[in-house]
Amino acid sequence: MKRNGRLPVAVLGAGLIGVDLAEKIMRSEVLDCVMVVGRDENTPGLRQAADLGLHVGTRGVASLLDAPGPIAMVFDATNAMAHAEHAERLRGAGVKLVDLTPSKVGRMAVPSVNGTEVLHCDDINMISCGGQASIPILHALTQAHRVEYVEVVTTAASPSVGRSTRLNLDEYVETTQDAVRDFTGVKDVKAILNISPARPPATFRVAMSVLGEGFGTASVTAAVSAAADRVRSFVPGYRITACVVEESKVFVAAEVTSTGGRIPRYAGNLDIINSAAVHIAEQCAAVAPARTGTETS
């Protein structure tokens, strides 16, 4: 279904996440953003999308189903409650979904951990910003050590947290916890989210505390640093800011700054989940049938 070698994709939801996502897709060499859909053309998000020269729709998922051209993949940047319905309607139309809401509906994906295993799935869930920032590190630590408890505390700056996320805090907490359990095999997991009112805004940050046995400074720092390098290959602003190793406890903090786009530096939460989503979508495009040329869907 590729056109000119690029896979036609659309963004559903024109909040903070949706608009940054559209911009990132425009920079992709393998994805073609054919539409951004919201509910109201007067919202800042849809106006920004139109200013970028993108085709916009205002009738939610209906705009996508009536789209003039083919759409192979839709990024759902709406909210967790709405995703199940979107998935049902779009999958029926043969569209693949990359879900940026904490809905738990699709297969959970963290590019540097299971990116290559999810490419065939028709609904891929990006978990949460905190999940994307912590699971690579936690996965690496739990591969190499015996772990009994994992805690993830995320802090995002107030202006980087849009209305859907604000209404989805319960889903954020539950989905992040479930994902950490899934990826680490540790049952006892706690996720916490702070929204910081600081001005100037605080840089997005995730703090991980891990309880277990036999942690050694050398093995922990090697595992953490290798995992961070893998994330940095597609999120350049990802860095470890603290790593404290004790015999039975490890504390690791990571900060993510946004780089390259129009969103502010502190909004690493938007950058990491969107970069992860685009990274996965590009890999999907690479394995999609490469029929370039004039055909329709």
Binding site: Y149, E151, V153, T155, S158, R163, R166, L167, L169, D170, Y172, V173, E174, K190, I192, L193, N194, I195, S196, P197, A198, R199, A202, R205, A207, S209, L211, T241, A242, V244, F251, A253
Partner: protein
């Protein structure tokens, strides 16, 4: 002996909200046991304290390495205090992002009377969904803004108006850092009073020795609900001292409905049974108040400063510069390591 009337007759009613069994947890690393909860709840109930709040210092679902793991789970704490209260109403606190609707459902199963939803000062809309849920369940809901010194009076008033739209039955602010002087409180409470028709609450910390004075300023500016704790049992330098605030309010002509001797007995019991020593405004607490950092950081700052051999006062001022808010205890390690590295450089 009743202190509920004054020579001039009963004045305006002020509702005292006793946070000893929630905020006090910060002072003892969330380690109160069942016997302690039961004993104090019974004493507060006997004194006619109208509201008794219980739980982990950071509220429902907050037990964690980040802020401290509680000795007892939420269910156990609520069931013990529920059983001990005959007349007093039981209240709980929850921060969205820390606790979830599932925690609220469990608190409702324990027949909680009042739920407080807290958010940082400018983030009231984080409470929208939980306030809506409580309204649907018919549970009285209050909404409180934490770290309120970080926002202007106008902004706090706007947030409060929004919280009322979301369904809050009362709204207010916490001076989470003990940073306010009375004039700051007057200005903020007056702005909130103007903005909403529901009761307004104020919660003081005593870092600069202003807790009672600030509470008096709040009630004079129109606040209807004041938080306080026995012996000031709370984070850092402690909260407003309940057994001082009540007679002060009565002397001012306000009515609290609380029995003085019962109150003093409860406070004596609290000092004897709940705390190694009553909170004091020590040097670190003064700095924490000046720096505008959450008072509950104190124990963690002292632990980490000792471990990394840095001055805890420097840690507090640097946390203040970075505008760390309650819940961001993870920053303490980084700040301490940064100070240590800067010294070595």
């Amino acid at each position: 002996m009743s202190a509920a009337t004054t020579p001039d007759g009963p004045g305006k009613r002020v509702l005292l909200y006793d946070a000893s069994l929630r905020d006090g947890h910060h002072a003892v690393r969330h380690q109160l046991d069942g016997g302690q909860l039961r004993a104090y709840a019974s004493a507060a109930d006997a004194a006619g304290v109208p509201m008794v709040e219980v739980g982990h210092g950071n509220g429902l679902g907050a037990s964690s390495l980040q802020v401290g793991q509680a000795r007892l789970g939420d269910d156990e704490m609520l069931s013990i205090v529920r059983e001990a209260l005959r007349d007093s109403r039981m209240a709980v606190f929850m921060l969205p992002g820390w606790g979830t609707t599932a925690d609220l459902e469990r608190a409702i199963a324990h027949q909680v009377d009042v739920v407080r939803i807290g958010t940082h000062c400018t983030e009231g809309d984080l409470a929208e969904r939980h306030l809506g849920f409580l309204r649907e369940q018919g549970v009285e809901a209050q909404a409180v803004l934490l770290m309120s010194h970080m926002a202007t009076p106008e902004r706090l008033a706007r947030e409060c108006a929004r919280l009322v739209e979301f369904g809050a039955n009362a709204v207010g602010i916490m001076d989470s850092s003990g940073h306010y002087l009375p004039a700051d409180v007057t200005e903020r409470v007056a702005a909130m009073r103007e903005a909403v028709d529901v009761p307004v609450m104020f919660h003081a910390h005593n870092n600069l020795g202003m807790a009672v004075a600030n509470s008096v300023a709040a009630v004079e500016a129109g606040a209807d609900i004041l938080d306080a704790c026995a012996r000031g049992f709370g984070a850092g330098a402690g909260n407003t001292q309940l057994e001082v605030l009540v007679p002060v309010l009565e002397r001012m002509g306000f009515a609290t409905g609380i029995d003085l001797y019962g109150l003093l007995d409860a406070a004596d019991l609290a000092e004897r049974e709940l705390m190694p020593a009553p909170p004091a405004i020590d040097s670190v607490s003064v700095v924490s108040g000046l720096a505008g950092v959450f008072s509950g950081f104190k124990n963690r700052v002292l632990d980490i400063a000792r471990r990394e051999d840095v001055d805890p006062r420097d840690v507090f001022f640097e946390l203040g510069r970075r505008q760390a808010v309650a819940g961001q205890e993870d920053l303490i390690v980084e700040v301490a390591l940064g100070l240590k590295a800067a010294r070595g450089a």
